[in-house]
C-alpha cells in the first residue's frame, strides 16, 4: 500500500518558482508535471532539485498514456524512472486516459470505454509501469466529454477493480467527478460513495468552465462551491489525505492560491473533527 501523506499542497507553476525558492511558503508539498522535468539537464531540472530540497514533491504525469491499446512507451518509462530516482517523490501519478497510439501523440487526456477489454489493457499497462518505476502509482479519474456506450462497468467500478487488480492508488480529482457527472448525467455523490476510499492518497481541487454543450475542465479559475461541497462530502470517508489546488491557466498570485488552500484546510479540519 502507498503510504498516506495528510498534507495540503499546490501545483508548482513557473510564475511561483521564485516565491517557493526564496521563501518558506506554508505548504506541505508541491506537485509538478513530470514531463516538464523529464529532460537531460539545464535550469528546469536544477530548480526542481532546489525545490525538492525544501519541500516534499509529488510527480504528476500527463503523457504515460496508460490506456494505449498498443502498450506503453519504453523511452518514456526510462526517463520517468530516472526522474523518480532523482527526486524521490511522495507520489507518482498519471491519468485514467490515453493520449498515444501508433506513433501519434495527441497531448490530450482522451477517454476510455469502460469495457472488460480496456480494463485488461489498462491493468497490464499499469503493471508494466509500476514494475518499470519500482513503485506503485496513483491513477487519477479524468474529466471526459464522451460517454462510450455500451460499457461493461461504470467509471467508479472500473477504478475500484483497477486498484484491486494492480495495487495502484487513486488520485481523486473532485472537480473531474463534478465535470464528468454533469456531462454524462450521473450522480457525483454516488460516484464518491463508491470509489475505493482506502486507496485514495491524493485529492485534486480545481475549477471548470461552461462550454457550448459541456462543462470543460479548464483549471483556470477558483474552485467553485459545487466542488467544495463534494470535497466536504467525501473527506470524512477518506480521513486525512493529501489535498491540493490544481491551477494550470490564468495563474493568479501565490497568495490567492494559498487562500484557496486555506479553505481546503478549514473544510478538512471541520469535517474530520465531525467524523472523529
Amino acid at each position: 500500500m502507498i503510504p498516506s501523506f495528510p498534507g495540503f499542497g499546490l501545483g508548482l507553476r513557473k510564475p511561483h518558482y521564485a516565491d517557493f525558492l526564496d521563501h518558506r511558503i506554508a505548504v506541505d508539498f508541491l506537485e509538478v508535471i513530470s514531463e516538464n522535468f523529464m529532460i537531460d539537464g539545464g535550469r528546469p531540472r536544477r530548480i526542481l532539485r532546489d525545490i525538492r530540497a525544501r519541500y516534499p514533491v509529488a510527480l504528476h504525469g500527463v503523457s504515460m498514456s496508460i490506456g494505449s491499446a498498443d502498450g506503453l512507451d519504453q523511452a518514456y518509462l526510462i526517463r520517468l524512472r530516472a526522474l523518480v530516482d532523482d527526486i524521490e517523490p511522495l507520489f507518482v501519478s498519471d491519468h485514467l486516459s490515453w493520449s498515444r497510439i501508433e506513433e501519434f501523440s495527441s497531448h490530450d487526456l482522451l477517454p476510455l470505454p469502460y469495457t472488460q477489454e480496456a480494463f485488461d489493457i489498462v491493468s497490464a499497462n499499469i503493471d508494466r509501469a509500476q514494475n518499470a518505476l519500482g513503485r506503485a502509482m496513483l491513477i487519477e479519474n479524468p474529466s471526459t466529454y464522451i460517454d462510450f456506450a455500451p460499457a461493461d462497468m461504470t467509471e467508479w467500478q472500473f477504478i475500484d477493480a483497477l486498484c484491486a487488480r494492480t495495487g495502484c492508488g487513486l488520485l481523486l480529482d473532485v472537480n473531474n467527478v463534478f465535470v464528468s457527472a454533469s456531462n454524462h448525467g450521473f450522480d457525483p455523490i454516488a460516484y464518491l460513495n463508491a470509489v475505493p476510499h482506502d486507496r485514495v492518497r491524493q485529492i485534486h481541487l480545481a475549477g471548470h468552465s461552461q462550454g457550448d454543450h459541456l462543462l470543460i475542465d479548464t483549471h483556470d479559475r477558483t474552485v467553485p462551491p459545487s466542488v467544495w461541497q463534494l470535497y466536504a462530502h467525501v473527506l470524512p470517508k477518506l480521513g486525512p489525505v493529501a489535498t491540493m489546488i490544481e491551477r494550470d491557466d490564468a495563474i493568479p498570485p501565490l497568495l490567492d492560491l494559498l487562500t484557496e488552500l486555506g479553505t481546503a484546510r478549514r473544510i478538512a479540519a471541520g469535517k474530520l473533527e465531525e467524523a472523529a
Binding site: E35, Y76, F104, D108, T144
Partner: protein, 263 residues
C-alpha cells in the same frame, strides 16, 4: 469495436476531422469530439507560439497562424513530450516561405536555443593546471550541448534585433554563408557567429585532432606567429566561455581528420 479500433478512429478524427471515424465513435459523441478537436489544435498552436516567439514577431500573427495550422495538418505530433513538436517547424517554414529563407533560419535558431536550454549539464574545465599540460598531444572534449547552425541569410542579426526589441534590418542573403555557434555557459544559453577558420578548427578538434596538430595546420595557412596568435585566441575564448569539458594529453590522437569538414 476494439479499443485499438476506437483509438485509431479518435486519432483520425483529431488529425483530419475524419467524419467516418466520428460516425463510428458514436452519434451522441459529436459535442465531445468537438471539445477534443479544439483542445488538440489549440494546444499545438500554443506550443508553436511559445517555442517560436521571435519567428512569430518577424512574420506577424496571421502568417504565423497559417504556418502553424499547415504544420498541424501535415506533421502530427509523435513524441511523448510537446517540447519535440517544434522540431520540424523550421522545415515547414522553409517549404512555405522558400522565397524568404530568413524565416526558417530564425526559427532554427529558436529551436536550437530551446534544445540547448534543457541539454545535459556538463562541467567546464578550470584554468588551474593548464600550463602543465602537453599541449602538443592534448585532445579537447567540448560540451555535448554545443551546436552549429549554417546560415545563408542575416537571420541571426534579425533574431538578435528582435530579442533586443530593436528595429530589425531588412532580410538579405549573406555574401558568404555564416555559422552560428550555440552553447550553454552554466544555465545561460549563448550564441555567436564564427568564421570558417574557427568552424574548421572546432570540427577538427571535435573529431579528435590534437591541439598540436591544429596549431600546425593553422600555421601552414597563416604563418607561425599569426597562426599561434589566432589559435591562442580561440582557445582562450573556448575556455572562458565554458565550452571545453575535458583536456586529455595522455590519449592516442584519433586518425587525422579530413582537411575540410562539413557541418
Amino acid at each position: 469495436m476494439s479499443l485499438l479500433a476506437l483509438q485509431r478512429d479518435m486519432r483520425d478524427w483529431l488529425m483530419r476531422e475524419d467524419g467516418a471515424a466520428a460516425d463510428r465513435i458514436g452519434a451522441t459523441a459529436a459535442p465531445g469530439l468537438a471539445v477534443y478537436q479544439n483542445n488538440y489544435r489549440t494546444q499545438l498552436v500554443a506550443c508553436l507560439e511559445s517555442s517560436f516567439q521571435r519567428t512569430r514577431a518577424w512574420i506577424g500573427e496571421d502568417m504565423f497562424l497559417h504556418a502553424a495550422v499547415h504544420h498541424i495538418d501535415n506533421v502530427p505530433p509523435s513524441s511523448w513530450t510537446l517540447d519535440a513538436y517544434g522540431r520540424d517547424f523550421p522545415a515547414t517554414l522553409a517549404r512555405l516561405h522558400a522565397a524568404d529563407p530568413e524565416i526558417a533560419e530564425i526559427a532554427g535558431i529558436e529551436l536550437a536555443l530551446e534544445d540547448l536550454f534543457i541539454a545535459a549539464d556538463s562541467s567546464a574545465v578550470g584554468l588551474d593546471g593548464l600550463g602543465d599540460l602537453d599541449w602538443d598531444r592534448a585532445v579537447l572534449t567540448f560540451a555535448p550541448s554545443i551546436n552549429l547552425l549554417h546560415l545563408n541569410t542575416n537571420g541571426f542579426v534579425i533574431w538578435s534585433a528582435l530579442v533586443d526589441q530593436k528595429e530589425p534590418p531588412a532580410p538579405q542573403y549573406l555574401d558568404r554563408p555564416d555559422v552560428a555557434l550555440l552553447w550553454r555557459q552554466g544555465e545561460q544559453c549563448r550564441i555567436r557567429t564564427i568564421d570558417d577558420a574557427e568552424l574548421q578548427a572546432l570540427l577538427k578538434l571535435r573529431c579528435g585532432m590534437t591541439f598540436g596538430a591544429l596549431c600546425r595546420d593553422v600555421a601552414l595557412l597563416l604563418g607561425e606567429e599569426a597562426g599561434m596568435t589566432l589559435v591562442g585566441r580561440w582557445l582562450g575564448s573556448w575556455l572562458s566561455d565554458h565550452m571545453v569539458v575535458a583536456i586529455d594529453d595522455r590519449v592516442q590522437a584519433a586518425a587525422r581528420c579530413s582537411s575540410h569538414l562539413q557541418l
